[in-house]
Assembly symmetry: C2
Homo-oligomer: 410 residues x 2
């Protein structure tokens, strides 16, 4: 139902064993760079070395696609020749691991072999702030490669380096990226840091992307104001205790207190009320919306249990029903019952198909009696998707405009 | 303490009144486009029309900065000449509002006048998915303009159009952006939609940015695999009920149950435990970390109240202390006491400076007795920043690597 990857869930305890250089790399002098470029530059999209060929990679179609996209976007294709001859040799040598790497680095939680881990392609994210923007963008972009990630045909490991605010650490990371054959995606507010990253990646033949540069430039031109160049958290940046701050904290606290049908007398204080049977994702959805500043209450629909009267007394325009396919619901409930250690009896009542269907039918009748409530189908939707649907409807009903949108003032 | 803007909090009830075109615009035929380009193209960064000049805009420094950045990035500067002459005229005509706009559109919740609202610059975000990536990126980029946004010297309104999956609606939005003098930032997975947006914006003289295009291309080259071109939620995209999905839902539910010192017997089941006095942001921080898949418990430190024994029996490496400046804490507590309607007596005990200092000193002694617990200073930090610090330390302690990073497998 929900794509866990879509909310950037780290795989706890299954991190890629970090590879550590044998000696601490130094900030390269210009003369050193040209040597390193030859010795370490591993990236050549148009002549992918045999040792690194993965399922579906390097096809003529892809090369054409890749070249066409690159040309169309104005990005220069990597210079062939010089580096392609050394790339293969370099990539076949696994990065040496030092003793201080994670002890259980041979297998991840999903039992991947070390060989598979070595074959994974790395993406380095470097930020002078929290790195969450880089993580969010890379995660969204990786969504475009689900067809090859899901079955682990082409595993990807991301590594986030946050709070990088001096050029020496930046260069260490870039050099490590070169050793690992990683690509680098960065969000660096200080223009000189961004420029250093760009140049170092270029010199070492590492593919790199400045994630926020283009949008920041476009906004600067649009507003006619220069960006501050200060990373979030820099002393010059202000964090006023605004009304928004207090409103958001309040929304989160309200939503936690109202979880799972608690305090029905407060339903009228909620901005949004979610109603649905157990395991339609009411709680994570409520929390996601609360983080966006909405006070959310959720009310479970349980067959044979009367719904709180208040639910039918509040403005019906703020109530949203959730529904789901019975087959998917049963799968989720079975997993849930197992993880909670339900007894056999409770488990079958909760997750057996007849009961699941009856309960969904009970919910359907409740929704039919309240035709103003929109009913959202959550099967196959990520939490963010369901929340986007709800907020579009919420804003649309509130503002009654001809082009549905979610607007915000800065 | 926390920047509300940093978690994309919508200003509830203070949305910009949407401007609606008088008649439904049609998808432009090639012959129509050239006419519209002349009539409506409003954007010319190097000759910002006088009517739209805001504080600090259009300075020679900015122009140089902007031009240098543009040249360096390989982006073409907009062609001067043709459009600068019509832009001024066009921008001075306020967009006509139709009757179906928000009734109370003259003033926002902060009492801004209609004139100020008209002077605000708009940013349109267009997505074929949820739009959250565009929102996140634009919000992060706007962080670079806090110096002019905070005092409302240059107000910005963002408008998100999510779930835009056909070219007609896309063209309506682009045309509306041209009318409003907005810029357009888009995340469109389908290459033909992205290309349509790019071309239409170019033809109508609208500054536009493809937020995910460059990073998606870079990843495609890096992996040697073409992107799917399918928006999230498209029928061809899969959302498996993965272990990660269940782990994340469990983390959120666990964290809610453990909020504010509840169920101390479960502290050993938490991945991360936060300890701090009231109003150091334990709850929103816990929720933020839970959304990333960590089971979090938080334990309030209250002067004169004994802390749960379990706190000192768990692995001390997973406990984090939070501290804050007494002045900021007092400000937050006063606002909190007011919003909760505390009586005068309770209020002074809770928020008066002597008490605040004593309680922080009490917490400091607890932390000093548990030297393994890192103590995080949250003053002036956004929730994401504090969480980045905590997760860096958490991962670092777990993996003991020489280059602290947060790694993840796809």
């Amino acid at each position: 139902m929900f794509a866990s990857s879509s909310l950037n869930l780290p795989s706890l305890g299954s991190s890629h064993p970090p590879s550590v250089p044998e000696s601490k790399p130094k900030y390269p002098s210009p003369s050193a760079i040209s040597l390193q470029t030859k010795a370490e530059a591993p990236y050549e999209p148009d002549s992918e070395p045999q040792a690194w060929k993965l399922k579906g990679s390097g096809s003529p179609q892809l090369k054409r696609w890749s070249r066409a996209r690159a040309l169309r976007s104005g990005r220069k294709l990597d210079r062939p020749g010089l580096r392609s001859s050394v790339a293969e040799v370099d990539r076949q040598i696994p990065v040496k691991k030092t003793a201080d790497t994670e002890p259980n680095n041979a297998t991840g939680s999903d039992g991947e072999s070390d060989a598979a881990a070595t074959a994974a392609k790395s993406i380095y994210m470097v930020s002078d702030g929290t790195g969450w923007t880089a993580e969010h963008s890379v995660n969204a972009a990786l969504g475009q490669f689900e067809h090859c990630l899901v079955d682990r045909g082409c595993p990807v490991h991301t590594h986030m380096f946050s709070g990088i605010d001096d050029v020496e650490r930046l260069m260490e990371i870039v050099k490590q990226a070169a050793k690992e054959g990683a690509m680098v995606a960065y969000t660096l507010a200080d223009p000189s840091m961004a420029e250093s990253a760009r140049q170092a990646c270029k010199l070492w033949g590492i593919p790199s992307t400045d994630i926020l540069g283009p949008i920041t430039e476009a906004i600067a031109s649009h507003l006619g104001v220069s960006p501050s160049g200060l990373p979030r958290g820099a002393p010059g940046r202000s964090f006023p205790l605004s009304d928004d701050y207090f409103r958001r904290i309040e929304a989160i606290e309200f939503t936690i207190k109202q979880d799972d049908g608690a305090l029905p007398q407060n339903l009228n204080k909620a901005d949004i009320i979610l109603a649905g049977v157990s395991r339609t994702g009411k709680t994570p959805l409520s929390i996601y919306l609360a983080q966006k500043g909405y006070k959310v209450a959720n009310v479970p629909i349980v067959m044979g249990v009367e719904l709180p009267k208040m639910l039918f007394q509040v403005d019906p325009e703020k109530v949203f029903g959730l529904t789901i396919s019975p087959v998917v619901l049963q799968t989720i409930r079975r997993a849930r019952a197992k993880s909670l250690g339900f007894t056999e009896e409770v488990r079958s009542n909760y997750s057996e198909m007849d009961y699941v269907r009856e309960e969904l039918e009970f919910a359907r009748r409740v929704f039919a009696q309240n035709p103003v409530w929109p009913v959202i189908e959550v099967t196959g939707k990520a939490i963010e998707e369901t929340s986007a649907v709800i907020l579009r409807l919420y804003q649309d009903r509130k503002h009654r405009c001809s082009m549905p949108r979610i607007s915000k003032r800065y």
